[in-house]
Amino acid sequence: MPLRRLFAISSVLFLLVLAISPAKNALRSYRSLQRQYRKLASSRAHSLKSAQGYEARPVAIQQIWLRDFENRVDRCTTCHLGVADPLMAGAPRPFDLHPGTPHTPGGFDRFGCTSCHGGQGLATTQPDAHGSSVDAGPPMTPPVFIEAGCGRCHLSDSVAGAPVLSRGRALIARAGCYACHAVRGQDAFRSEAPPLATLPLKTGGAWVKRWLKDPKSVDPNATMPNFHLTDQAIDELSHFLFAAQVPKELAGRIEAAAAEPPGSSANGKKLVSESRCITCHTVEGKGKGSAPELSKIASTASRGWLLAFLREPQAFNPRTAMPRYHFSETESRDVVAFLEDEFRDFDAPKDILEPLRVNQSLAENGRKLFRLYGCFSCHDPAGSGSEKFGPELDGIGDKRAQSLDFGRRTDLVRALPAWLAAKLESPRSFADGLKMPSYGFNADDSRAVTTALLALGAQGVPDRYRYAPPQKPALLPGGPVGSLIQSYRCLSCHQIGDRGADVSTAPLTYEGSKVKRDWLVDYLVLSYTLRPILEERMPVLRMPREDATQLADALESFYVDPSILADPFAGRPASDADPAEGQRLYVGLGCRGCHILGSSGGYYGPPLTEAGKRLKPGWTYAWLKGPQRWRADVRCPDYGLSDTDALRLAAYLETLVPVAPSAKPEKAARGVR
């Protein structure tokens, strides 16, 4: 080809090729989107001036720069132009107003977008920003897991407004994940799983094998996961467990108890129903509790063990939630007799409680398996040392899909949430030789746990953004009062400060300011139903009166809140505050809609029939001034009462004392149904 023609052609090509990139740049999609937005917004504008304002907006990249929040840059608003503009409510997708949440629309300049939604804030193209293309940055969190974003900053177990996250965190704690996996801030976690030292005297070889095969099939409340053991492994582990040396002292107790004469099943039935076991345990699935199912307990544990355990549960498992009931020797025998008669698995083989004759070589293999599967993490945490058995979970929420090992699971979407869900559902399906057991989470549980896991970021957010609700100090005295609180396991149901479980609606933190001491003593000795609709009720612990007095005195003197006035009437008699007017208020405000008073009233709040005997007026006053202050999610509405009105009502309630202090407990004791 002649040189000049070649030169002309190549020059023109040169020009054309060099023009491609600027042309592509000029046609970037955000530009046309911004022009569309201008048109849409100005057509929606209420005034000519604001329409002109929209029209005049330049086409440019928008960004939210959060220097103090991990130096985050979110350019989502380059396309999502209307997120903070009320005018754009209901507009088509990239332009619509962001739904209102605790942090929006007011908080965009503090939180940006990616802090909740994930994705790549720096990107200005949709596939890269949303992380939908293969090697783009971090993908967006799918909307079902959106609460994972809350969990990055909100570090408490329970996060108000994030029910899925809170549930996920609770499930993780209950499943004992922290026993094997290290997670920041959970170093102190201890599983409630029982030590296995007394197992040879507790149950039989057949039962242990059944249990190891699938704990949930034996007890639906079991927290122990299914390790999918082979029959041989089960056999070896059973031999190892039965080879354990039972501590002499406990063995003595169990054997002595086994030798005792049988008790009265009929009396046992009455005692069980009074003791409200179903507050924690379930019986054939009835009851809200999550403690072991009782309906087959007699085919799980030997009579001697049950009796010895019932008399002092903490000697067998120092971490148990089970309180110590002060049954007399006979009473405890009666209770166990009832359990033996009624709560038995009648389909179970006769020899289910026969101890296993130990084969030492199998037991030796079992010992290896016990280590191999990390059983010690839950059952013998002291023996596990400081090393956690499983890989640490911190940062799992920021893992990139490319760095995950999908192994055999070619069926999965290559994304972190899918991987986590599959890990939870069938952990062993990824490769051979994996040890993680399966927990039998249902779809909802699995979603909640995945949400909580996605909240575990690689780095903690800056201090300014970290939020944990203010720590309520937990006063836990030592000495005799402390050991009483320990042995009655008050914290299994009640909260003190931030310690303890949330089963009871009555935290003990300010109980001394709330209830009158004399009432409390009586109540501790023989508790009765305060809130008829709740299934979780205070059990009758058979507390001796001196214990009750000691506890009540301690509550009276230590567990007080300085903001609750001891005497709201300021030294004057309560009648000065006009209780008659208070009664009128009681009617006028509709309190009877929820509270029982005398023979009528709603079935929701606690009965007020004997409020004057039970509640201190200072508490009543403080409560009426704002119930939510004392319990954030309480349903009792805040009426916005004036001081005078609140005082009048308090005075009225103070007048409510039972006419004839008859024995209530018969009516209330409904126990096991």
């Binding site: 509709g590 809609g593 709603g602 009426y639």
Partner: protein, 145 residues
Amino acid sequence: MRIRAAALALVALLTVPAACTRKSAPAGAKTPAAAKTPVVPPPLRYEVRLGKVTFTHYCQTCHGESGAGDGFNAFNLDPHPRDLSDPQFQKKKSDAELADAIQRGGAGVGLSALMPPWGHTLSARQIDELVLYLRTLPALRKPST
């Protein structure tokens, strides 16, 4: 010979249920799906979901899960709680009126004091969300009637 006969019988035994399941499986799969479709409520918008949470927590005890005024505490109450899922009622009341009734309670709008005022307990936004959720109740009601 007997072994072979036994094996044949076994094979037959195994194939018959297999054949049956193969036939019945698609049919069985179809019917529940077809029956299910109308029942599944449409996915709720974010604000409405928040409203639902508030409703479940504060209102359900009296107004009932579907808003029909059949909560377990309703039998105590006279007058009876309002049936919120009634389309006639919904048509009559504007959003502002509903929000006002929630905020100031029954007594505030000249009705029964048994409906407490929630203005001090719930934020304005929560009340707005609640109203949004209330508006979805009539639609939820239809399949059950």
